[in-house]
């Protein structure tokens, strides 16, 4: 069992406050993703939970027990590092077995667990190799294997896929998803990748400058961002933000409309503009429009839209999909 609860957690490095009064709860078995811009404190937060950094104030509870002053090994968590952090001088088998050896488990139990983990992760043929003789994806699997055998209360992943190429990333993303479905263990996952966050998470924690901007399911964040920051951060391509008369007409300081939530026409509509570039992705077409009235807009059209640069087009936001923000950038009802 592994619920994780943070209560008013702060972390200062010298005079710099990196984590600022963060509170939230991860329920047992949940897949939680931390997202946020570079340097916002995602890794630091994960390392605080792991116990690799000491918190400056506040409390961290695992399964309801305060572990703020407990060492990393005793917290019963397993971490998968971005750099994999495999032991270079040990074989894959010994890498995976290391934690079990440290826990002084009997040899036959260790062998059994290692073999089982290797089978799950397709590593059986590589058990006698050393990390440097493996591909990036295989190294990543070893890192995960090392975490699995400990049967931790929760897994902590820090951008585990960021060193892999796009195709392998998709594959490993699915494998981690399967793993979560099979083990049903709490997983906490840091990523930069929109798609990873949206597809894997039960719950997303959006961080901004060391503070929680919003917590919710992927669709909650997509449909009901609580402010400009989350609205811009979640969703790809980014939401269009418009201020000025178009927003004033709707009683807001600014309004936001996602590229996929506009009506697009070559004859009539609310915001006229000229096509700057059209990106044809096959399944979708992204059209970048320069509008004199409201500035640059991004439009996402399904399929292969026959749009040419320089063409005059009209963009009309779908009223029921419109997001309204007040002067402070907060969402309005």
């Amino acid at each position: 069992m592994g619920s994780i609860e943070l209560k008013n957690v702060r972390k200062d490095f010298g005079a710099i406050s990196v984590i600022n009064d963060v509170s939230f709860k991860v329920n047992d078995g949940e897949f939680t993703v931390f997202v946020g811009p570079s340097g916002c404190g995602k890794s630091t937060l994960l390392r605080l939970i792991a116990g690799l950094e000491d918190i400056s104030s506040g409390n961290i509870l695992i399964d309801g027990k305060d572990v703020s002053n407990v060492g990393p090994a005793q917290r019963g968590l397993a971490m998968v590092f971005q750099s994999y952090a495999l032991y270079p001088h040990m074989t894959v088998r010994n890498n995976i077995a290391f934690a079990l050896k440290m826990a002084k488990q009997p040899k036959n139990v260790i062998d059994e667990k290692v073999n089982k983990a290797a089978a799950i992760l397709n590593l059986t043929d590589y058990l006698d190799r050393r990390p440097r003789q493996l591909s990036g994806g295989q190294r990543q699997r070893v890192a995960i294997g090392r975490a699995i055998v400990r049967e931790p209360a929760a897994f902590l992943f820090d951008e585990p896929l960021s060193n892999l190429d796009a195709a392998l990333r998709v594959q490993m993303r699915l494998e981690i998803g399967d793993l979560h479905n099979n083990l049903k263990t709490t997983m906490t996952y840091v990523t930069h990748d929109q798609v990873e966050a949206m597809t894997m998470a039960d719950k997303i924690v959006v961080l901004n400058k060391g503070a929680v901007a919003q917590i919710g399911s992927p669709l909650e964040l997509y449909n009901k961002p609580n402010g400009l920051f989350v609205a811009r951060f979640i969703g790809s391509p980014t939401m269009n933000i418009v201020s000025g008369p178009a927003a004033a007409k709707r009683n807001a300081a600014s309004i936001g409309i996602r590229p996929e939530h506009v009506d697009f026409s070559t004859s009539a509509g609310e915001w006229p503009g000229k096509v700057r570039i059209a990106e044809h992705l096959g399944a979708d077409t992204f059209v970048y429009v320069d509008s004199d009235a409201v500035g640059p807009l991004t439009v996402r059209l399904e399929g292969e839209a026959p749009v040419k640069p320089g063409q005059t087009v009209y963009v009309t936001p779908q009223e029921n999909r419109l997001h309204r923000f007040d002067r402070d950038g907060k969402s309005m009802a």
Partner: protein, 276 residues
């Protein structure tokens, strides 16, 4: 490094490499050849390369004049001893500077290196008189201690750069895996540090082996290493090239053999941990 290299280019590169290697090796080869010549052949103009009267009389002469075994043992004792005690001091020092640096760590390292910039002659008188009063002249302990101190800054620096290369992530992973500090050191840190320590050890042995300034000035007979022995053959009666060569060959033979068998470590050591 999977670059394609054309054959002609490879041949040219090999030729240059051989040339450079030969150039560097030539003095040693010449010394080796000279050590088997008679003094007359050694002075012959034009020089005789291979076709001379081979003789081992120089080696016999060296043996009769000096106690080669004593000097060789001294060299080994001094180099190895200075090395062992040096490592005992340097490993923890470099370790703590690499893994828990403070604000002053960089300054400290620079300061240690700066001591190498001072010529030994600058402190010679002070050390000579200290050694004289403390009855450490011509003692293995005294000379060994000095050699250790002379090399310590370099050893600490070298170990520091090696330890710095060990990724902190891996140590943290071990911590997460439940390794106690002791197990972390035994099973994770030490195995990763061993290549660096080995290279450092080698370089340190070679530096001590070749040290001449301090040993010539502070040691006479009992603690005199092979460098002193060579020096004793460049004698007041004039230079005997063949004899001197034989003494030199004997002096460098042990270190050449060690060097030959540990080339890989040595190259790593000399590049100061810069090449992985």
């Amino acid at each position: 490094m999977a670059r394609k290299v054309s054959t002609s280019r490879r041949v040219a590169m090999s030729a240059v490499a051989w040339l450079v290697a030969l150039l560097i090796f030539f003095p040693i080869l010449w010394m080796f050849l000279t050590s088997f010549k008679t003094e007359a052949d050694a002075y012959a103009v034009p020089p005789k390369f291979l076709f001379f009267h081979w003789t081992t009389e120089n080696y016999v002469e060296v043996q009769s004049r000096v106690d080669y075994v004593l000097h060789a043992i001294n060299s080994i004792v001094l180099a190895v001893g200075a090395n062992i005690f040096g490592l005992i001091l340097a490993i923890p020092a470099a370790w703590s500077m690499a893994f828990s640096p403070t604000k002053r760590t960089k300054d400290l390292l620079m300061w240690m290196l700066s001591t190498k910039m001072m010529p030994g002659a600058g402190v010679f008188m002070a050390i000579y008189f200290i050694y004289l009063r403390a009855h450490l002249l011509d003692s293995r302990w005294g000379i060994g201690f000095l050699l250790m101190m002379v090399n310590l800054p370099i050893i600490v620096w070298m170990l520091y750069t090696y330890f710095k290369e060990i990724p902190v992530d891996i140590l943290e992973a071990a911590r997460m895996d439940g390794a106690s500090l002791r197990n972390e050191i035994i099973y994770v840190l030490t195995p990763m540090a061993v290549p660096g320590i080995a290279s450092t050890m080698l370089l340190s042995v070679i530096l001590s082996w070749n040290e001449a300034f301090w040993t010539l000035n502070l040691a006479n007979v009992n603690a005199a290493p092979l460098t002193n022995m060579i020096a004793s053959f460049s004698s007041p009666e004039g230079d005997f090239w063949a004899l001197l060569s034989a003494a030199s060959v004997l002096a460098i033979a042990p270190i050449l053999i060690i060097g030959w068998f540990s080339q890989k470590q040595l190259v790593r050591g000399l590049t100061f941990g810069a090449v992985k």
